[in-house]
């Protein structure tokens, strides 16, 4: 990580998105206290916590694998942190049961982790963290090991729950849809630094650089600029207009899908693939051009903040 600096509001849900290896996990681990900072400081509620050991920070990290203690029941797992804090037994039980009800796993309180499915385990893991009412909750790609439909349903649940409990959270993912849905604010991370921070919708439709566009932009990330998905169309190669107002990128139809009775086409091009529509009908394998009006291309803003860091 290098030259990273940002600020979270209370109750905010902050998402960090970026490719594997960019340092997202390291960021979380440093915030949690599991790794040391060479330089810099971390302030929680205006107090520096950078010297505190992880067990003394009011920061809880939720891991990618649920890592529930295999020899303890679900209830014992959830009350684990409370027990360390020496909360009384009755209090522990009531808090834990309340939380289990919220994640809809109260019936399973006496089960062992190996009896649970992946999604259920993550919910228990969440309950285990939330019951401690941390000042900051860190979530390390908690849904990445689950299948797609489960991910989508859990996303919503988790977001609602975090809002209900009023927890400030930092969520990392490499999935673009998740990034857009989960956070109040979104940061794009690449090679140890944030290259853009902003509201999800803004970041996604107005990437400040080509790198940012590649990671999170919905559309084509070209060197000259960014073309939002909504302005793109796929046309057969032979239909290329001679009009100079358009810009083109060649690609091929890799899949045809139907959404709401409209045919959409997944076009793979040099740097990836996009899902677009077409005026006519296309077939799989067809060579096409992705076209958009030149005026729709957004130039990269290359915004920088007061530290000279890309915003």
């Amino acid at each position: 990580m290098q030259n990273l600096s940002f600020h979270l509001e209370e109750g905010e849900h902050f998402t960090v998105v970026g490719p594997s290896g960019c340092g997202k996990s390291t960021l979380l681990r440093c915030l949690a206290g599991l790794e040391n900072l060479d330089e810099g400081d971390i302030y929680l509620r205006e107090k520096s916590i950078v010297r505190l050991k992880p067990e003394n920070r009011s920061v809880v990290l939720m891991f990618q694998d649920s890592l529930l203690f295999p020899h303890l029941t679900v209830l014992e797992n959830v009350t684990y942190g409370l027990k360390r804090k020496k909360v009384s037994k009755t209090e522990r039980m009531s808090q834990a049961e309340r939380m289990l009800k919220k994640v809809k796993l109260f019936k399973w309180k006496d089960a062992f982790p190996h009896e649970l499915s992946g999604g259920q385990k993550q919910r228990v893991s969440l309950a285990r963290a939330l019951v401690l009412k941390p000042d900051l909750l860190l979530l390390d790609e908690p849904f990445s090991s689950l299948d797609a439909t489960l991910r989508e349903s859990l996303r919503g649940e988790v977001k609602d729950l975090l809002r209900e409990e009023g927890i400030t959270s930092l969520f990392i993912t490499h999935d673009r849809d998740e990034a857009i849905e989960m956070g109040d604010r979104l940061a794009v991370m690449l090679e140890g630094r944030f290259i853009q921070i902003g509201l999800p919708y803004d970041v996604v439709t107005n990437p400040s650089s080509m790198e940012s566009a590649k990671i999170i932009g919905e559309g084509l990330a070209l060197e000259e600029g960014f073309i939002p998905l909504s302005k793109l169309k796929a046309i057969p190669v032979q239909d290329k207009p001679s009009n100079q107002d358009f810009t083109f990128v060649s690609g091929k139809v890799s899949a045809v899908t139907v959404k709401n009775n409209i045919e959409c086409y997944r076009i793979s091009w040099e740097q990836g693939s996009v899902l677009v529509m077409s005026d006519g009908r296309l077939v799989a394998g067809q060579e096409v051009l992705l076209s958009a009006k030149r005026e729709e291309m957004k130039k990269y803003s290359h915004k920088k903040d007061q530290w000279g860091l890309a915003q």
Binding site: A32, G33, L34, K53, P54, E55, N56, V59, V60, L61, F63, D65, L67, L68, F69, P70, H71, L72, T73, Y80, G81, R84, K85, F112, P113, H114, R128, A129, L132
Partner: protein
């Protein structure tokens, strides 16, 4: 060599494979035990009597030896376990590399009495530690150096066993440490647990069976071992194995029943410990397996 033996049913195969080992063990251990027990109940003339046991249990000297023997066994075992555990915990990453593992094997390659000699060399009153302390001015006279070797409490004996057995403990614990998923320690800490909590929740459950097994083995071993106390022990009180040996080789064979009965006691205690611990370990294992998600 053309696979005909493969036509033998599994049961035959198993019996064949196990037969030699079982036969030898039955012969040596089964018959040996029976013979020993029998001889403990007989006099030199072949009469059956419990005189040997009676004499033993009414002897103060015997009880002193018994106390000494088990005190030495328990202390050696406890120390070896604690030191071995601490070393394993700190160094297990290092031991993945086999050059360091080799170092751990060194005490295992040395016969017990050589280890005893080493302890003698370093820790006796005229030993090297004493010399070192004198040279740096911490000691005036070698008589002031505490008597550690060849004394009543058996400190020298205990230290020798600890030196020899810590590597054994380490080698027994290492596989457990490699199997543990150490991310759980981070989970404990982010949830607010201390280092000690991490140990209790993440490591101890897996260590317990091995620790118990190792301690039974060590206690049984030290209580019945002869070589070191023979080298480093004092005349009164003696550790049981030495005492038994002397009775065995006493001029005529009249003291032999005493020798047998003296050594049967540690044997019985060891077997008792083993049976008790197997029950405890089984229950623990069951609980762990119930909850194990792997």
């Amino acid at each position: 060599m053309n696979g005909r033996i493969g036509l033998l049913s599994n049961n035959w195969k198993i019996s064949l494979y196990l037969l030699p080992a079982i036969a030898i063990t039955l012969l040596l251990v089964g018959y040996g035990t029976w013979s020993a027990v029998a001889q403990s109940f007989q006099t030199i003339d072949g009469e059956w009597t419990i005189a040997a046991y009676a004499e033993l249990f009414s002897s103060d000297a015997f009880f002193h030896s018994l106390k000494l023997t088990f005190r030495v066994a328990i202390l050696s075992t406890l120390l070896s376990l604690v030191i071995g555990l601490v070393m394993t915990r700190l160094l297990y990453q290092l031991f993945k590399d086999s050059t360091w593992k080799l170092l751990v094997w060194i005490p295992m390659l040395i016969p017990h009495f050589v280890a005893g000699y080493l302890v003698f060399l370093f820790l006796s009153q005229s030993g090297l530690l004493s010399s070192l302390l004198y040279q740096i001015g911490a000691l005036e006279n070698r008589a002031n150096f505490p008597v550690l070797v060849q004394e009543e409490f058996g400190i020298g004996i205990i230290l020798t066993y600890v030196w020899k057995e810590v590597p054994f403990v380490i080698l027994m614990l290492l596989p457990v440490y490699y199997e543990i998923d150490h991310r759980y320690s981070e989970v404990v800490r982010t949830l607010g647990g201390s280092n000690w909590d991490a140990f209790r929740t993440v490591e101890l459950p897996w260590l317990l069976p091995v620790l118990i097994e190792t301690s039974v083995i060590l206690v049984a071993f030290v209580a019945s071992a002869f070589e070191i106390p023979y080298l480093l022990g004092v005349t009164r009180p003696e550790m049981l194995p030495v005492r038994a040996y002397e009775w065995f080789y006493n001029g005529d064979w009249s003291k032999r029943p005493l020798a047998f009965s003296a050594m049967i006691l540690p044997g019985v205690i060891a077997l008792l410990l083993a049976t008790l611990s197997i029950g405890a370990v089984q229950k623990h294992r069951l609980r762990m397996i119930k909850g194990r998600s792997r």
